[in-house]
């Protein structure tokens, strides 16, 4: 092994270890944020002054809380899709530095709070307070889309981007992330007037985000 190649390889290994710890920390936050959602599911409590507990009471008590299950599933899928995106981005990153740590931290802060607007929507979408709930939810989507755009811009600087990152994938991600913030801003403007439509579009966009990111395999191009 030549000295130069050795130094370069040590450097690459160091950079990889670097990124590995950042990914592990991020995975921890994603994993906890996704698991913490389960705290929203609560065992129905029977008030003994209502007579005898019965199978039909428990059934209706469980069914009544369907908005919590829906909110749980929606938050879970949202975080899962964001994790897939985070994963795809970081596969293209070679080296982490301070701006990347903070761009990533800003995103994680928003990921950690996903459960909150979802729970507010689950509680209030069927009430006259729906506009406020929808504004809160879509507002957080604007922030999330912005945080992903910032992370992409920081991660794709020449000093961070892996030289082996496939150019087609890099430009595809660049393009699709650019759409995010204006798209959600448009939905946000609509939210006070038609909160349910705004929510429908926001949730539908997650299907789009689930499909946009290239699967790791396709990212390799010709392999």
């Amino acid at each position: 092994v030549e000295p130069d190649a050795k130094i370069e390889s040590d450097d690459a290994r160091e950079g990889e270890k670097e990124t590995a710890r950042l990914e592990a920390f991020s995975d921890g936050v994603f994993a906890f944020a996704i698991t913490l959602l389960v705290l929203e599911l609560r065992v129905p409590h029977f008030d003994e002054s209502h007579g005898e507990v019965s199978a039909s009471w428990l059934s209706s008590a469980l069914l009544e809380t369907w908005p919590r299950y829906a909110a749980f599933a929606a938050s879970f899928l949202t975080i899962l899709i964001m994790w897939v995106h985070h994963h795809s981005l970081f596969r293209l990153v070679r080296r982490s530095d301070l701006p990347l740590l903070f761009a990533n931290g800003f995103l994680l802060m928003l990921v950690a709070t996903v459960a909150f607007p979802t729970a507010v929507v689950g509680e209030y979408l069927m009430t006259p307070a729906a506009p406020t709930a929808a504004i809160l939810y879509v507002g957080q989507q604007v922030l999330l889309a912005t945080a992903f755009l910032i992370l992409l811009r920081v991660a794709f600087r020449p000093s961070s981007l892996s030289p082996s990152a496939p150019a087609a994938m890099v430009s595809r991600l660049r393009r699709s992330y650019l759409f995010g913030p204006p798209l959600y801003l448009a939905v946000l403007v609509m939210a006070p007037w038609c909160p349910k439509v705004a929510m429908g579009i926001s949730l539908g966009l997650w299907v789009f985000w689930a499909l946009v990111p290239t699967s790791p395999k396709r990212a390799h191009g010709g392999h």
Copy 2:
């Protein structure tokens, strides 16, 4: 080292790193789901209007909550056994892609909620609401068995399966996972009429699942 071998080895290493992050994320969810169960154990609160606190009051207050301890232990063992299965499956996987990420995500979503039906059963199995509680618990087992079957089908596609996976183990896992959903469906049909028997069979099946997965050592065959 020949160029071709180098590329292949880089690819293998890349695939391994890929799977490693997926496993780390899954481990996070498993570890967190299993630890979060402890929130079900609560310090008995003494109501001062009941006179003086005493050792016998605390003893009976602690013993009274035995269904919570039983539910905790059952949930813990369940998640532990599922982790062992997840572990066994992923030792045979070489490469992750989008379908695997989502199949795995669907399983993790169910893993994260294991505590919920268990807690409902712990609260209501001894009451007239037992049928509903048993339906909820066995219903989740149906979903879990289905999620494991889907994950296995996705993980054992030729593009994901490791070429070094022992054929005997692969076919054994294929066979036993296929039994899962119909088995639990049969128990589900029985649950409204004999909820305690249905719960007994469901819990007993976990002993079966604990033994079925080949220990990592035996999976290696002759080594």
Copy 3:
């Protein structure tokens, strides 16, 4: 590289990866169990019917909850010391199999519940209910010491023990873990009569456990 050496090294690497995932999962449980303790610390709530909130009210409200801080610190140190032990044990393990997974799982289940008896002691040690609280706490120590002994026995089977494990360290750990269960059983017998002495001995033993495990460096002997 000779073929035989290659196979052996692949095997070793496989075994290492195996153990690595088990350690990562265990670390997750340790880390969450230790962090979850913070939920015991609660912001004092001011009841507005008691007049005006004041600095002295907040001071005394915070100071009044000192048993919670003490319980938090004790649980934290306990889990930290157990993590160090777990760490030391697994540095000597080469290969994981089903018995090791379950022995480890049994230990993790107890680790996850450490906060519970500690909180009960923090709440009731100064009341007439102290004997029950002490029995619960010391009883869990008996289970923990037994779980560590079982884990050691399983981990130190010839098929699991790393061939490079220093013999002196192996026999030292074997010896000290054997003392655990009878020691705590003796304290348990004493707990109903002198709960505070039993608690003092139990907590004091943690200092012993903190010092017994060889530092990783000394474990290497002559290196």
Copy 4:
């Protein structure tokens, strides 16, 4: 490969694996502590005796809890910055031993509790109880700065410090960590008299801590 070089490299690898597990455990605690903060955000509950729920009620209910959002963001950024520091320190560490495990454990214990004083400040800074809240917050900063100083002293012993650690970075970190405890002690003395100024300085210092740590890239000097 010469035998000596082989042993040295094995040793280095062992030491790296060692440190890796310590970092993974610490990352778990950091990630969990940072995610757990989200439990402070609660869905506003509508009391049905107050008439009809409305969008304006929900808006004001959400806006009213702004101190919780501010406390959440402050705690999140604080833990993130501490993670960056922890990260920078451990990149310079080659080998972990018992003192390092305990110095790190002491720091993690404080990291895990960051949410608590922040929540107390969020609740009471605008009330007459502000001095107590500020003392609690700044008091924890004193402990945190001390824990970081202890960790640095333990991590930078010759037996732990990586021989490849850039001398300029080591001495810079040594210098800046030494300032921490006396600086926060001075703020603590001021806290009872001007709690808001003390809080402002404490929060402002986090900006300083965010900038002081060298980015990983700059740490490599000439590379």
